[in-house]
Symmetry: none
Subunit: 347 residues, 2 copies
């Protein structure tokens, strides 16, 4: 327990094999954000995430990165996670400190919080940077393990994982979430499995509820956690003590949740498979509609998605636009569902 820079300063040079760091993001949130149904978003407004300026944040980052670099073995690697608020500062400062970026990894959240006001794209991912100490370092990368984890295909730089919720979310003594930004164990599982060997020492300078420690213990890695807040240290300690070493059944929980890719009709328009301006009709040419640039369609009376317009024209409560509508061009009628299959095959 203590300040991460002061505590790292007490560790010897080149003594840890891997560092995983989840530093403050410096979110710079404004006033309250209200949900459409009236509820308030429980924002991360803790003091530990507040910095006076970008310069202050940069100074803090430079300092802890310098200690991290000193402690890290020459062939060790460092992982840092962040969002667009801070990751560009962190990435630049990592490069300035002569770290060598091996990959940037995108954590694509399967269930992110929506953008309630319709003002931006849903902020649906976070970014992780994986770096060696220099270009020539002989770092650990368990290529085969990653390939096995990904159905015998190379593991890519984008990882789809759900956010940490439900039973995995650590609760405090009042039953509330113990920490505003707890990371999912599946994320740490993949990182530790990819970049460490059993018995390696993993350091997490922003330990929080101890996800890194719990997964390290489960995978037979040694760990060091540094955390400033007494409340977090307390829940982390209890959590890790309750963690059992991995058994085979638990491994399946960690695997990717895979499902058939959903195709939006708009993607066919973007890719040119169904050009904007094209005419759609049903199999008996009773109704017609025109495709618009954004993938919505318009008949003389209605506009909206292929499903909504199909339903409205027929006076039906619902309609599967994929099988109802056909592209009407020089080659004749082609069911949209056939074009969708073609699009999926091309991917």
């Amino acid at each position: 327990m203590g300040d991460c820079i002061a505590e790292m300063a007490r560790l010897p040079d080149k003594s840890v094999d891997m560092i995983f760091a989840d530093p403050p993001y410096n979110l710079q949130l404004g006033g309250d954000l209200i949900r459409p149904e009236g509820g308030k978003v429980d924002a991360c407004d803790d003091d530990w995430d507040k910095f006076d300026s970008l310069a202050t944040y940069d100074d803090f980052t430079r300092e802890w990165l310098a200690e991290a670099r000193r402690i890290l073995k020459d062939d060790g690697t460092i992982w840092v996670i962040g969002s667009y608020h801070n990751i560009y500062r962190v990435g630049s400062l990592l490069q300035d400190a002569d770290f060598w970026i091996l990959n940037d990894i995108v954590w694509r959240k399967s269930n992110p919080m929506p953008n309630f006001r319709g003002t931006r794209f849903t902020n649906a991912h976070e970014t992780l940077l994986w770096c060696a100490k220099d270009e020539k370092a002989r770092y650990t990368f368990n290529y085969r393990a990653m390939k096995a984890l990904n159905d015998d295909l190379q593991m890519r730089s984008d990882w789809v994982l759900p956010i940490c919720s439900g039973g995995e979310r650590v609760k405090d003594e009042w039953g509330e979430k113990a920490h505003p930004t707890q990371k999912p164990e599946a994320l740490l599982y993949r990182i530790l499995l990819a970049c460490t060997k059993p018995g390696d020492v993993v350091l997490d300078p922003f330990f929080g509820t101890g996800t890194t420690g719990a997964v390290a213990r489960r995978l037979g890695r040694k760990w060091i956690g540094i955390e400033r807040e007494r409340a977090y240290v307390k829940v982390a300690t209890a959590r890790i003590e309750a963690t059992l070493p991995l058994d085979e059944s638990a491994m399946t929980v960690m695997a990717d949740k895979r499902s058939a890719p959903r195709v939006a009709f708009g993607l066919l328009v973007e890719s040119g498979l169904v050009p904007a301006g094209a005419t759609l009709t049903d199999s008996k040419r009773r109704w017609f509609a025109t495709v618009r640039a954004d993938g919505s369609i318009a008949s003389d009376m209605h506009s909206g998605s292929i499903h909504k317009v199909g339903a409205a024209l027929q006076g039906a409560p619902s309609c599967n636009g994929w099988t109802f509508w056909h592209l009407d061009d020089a080659t004749g009628l082609t069911e949209l569902d056939v074009l969708r299959q073609r699009h999926l095959a091309a991917l």
Copy 2:
């Protein structure tokens, strides 16, 4: 044709609505990369991608960003695409230049080049930054069009798109790919559809084979392209001339409700669409109110505008009375918003 900084310097202040920039990535490649079957990877080793040091790259980036900022309208936005080699420099310098990041977007490539050596994760994405000139800017974001393009779900920050290949890839006179890093039209299509209006001026300071110009022309946007290499200018010019604009009906996208003309509820009462004395209720018939002659409504406890009374009854901070209240008559429940649409259509 010319150097991007020199040419931008000739453009007036605050004169373009949007900037899309695909600057050199400063890839810092080592020796040749050989594929498992023996072929050599055709790497991007052009002179224009080489910089002496990170500091040189930063200086170059600072310079063109300063010109870009000067040229951009106050409510305009800038997009920059990059990979892990350069995007952390660019993101940091954007923030240093007081740009305000709205989103970082991940272009997840459906068909990336594998990692032939098995030494890292497959580098399967690139990153785009979307920024306004400052926090308060009132930028263009066609929320409804993006939602339509994504099957009526909010468009997320991770976009799955194939790389540019096949017939879309521009060839030179010898049949070789004309440019090593041509971007797919689908990427520009989504960006221009999301963040510009028809007739807007889009600037691309690193024009290459003119993808931005081709898509801008197709979507009825004006464009300015700056490119240093004569060979690229030549293929870009031919390509754009061969691109046909969409006609206006195809270019139409789902309208944003915010841009629709305001209708006072009282107008519906005046016109008889909602008769004074009528009963309003919510979709679940939990609350009721009576319409008064002046367009105010009254429940047993509260009276005022449709918004105020809706908020008060629910104990919510605010309420959209148009979607909350329904006219309750012989035909059943009709949402006020539907009656508003009917009123607008009748005008």
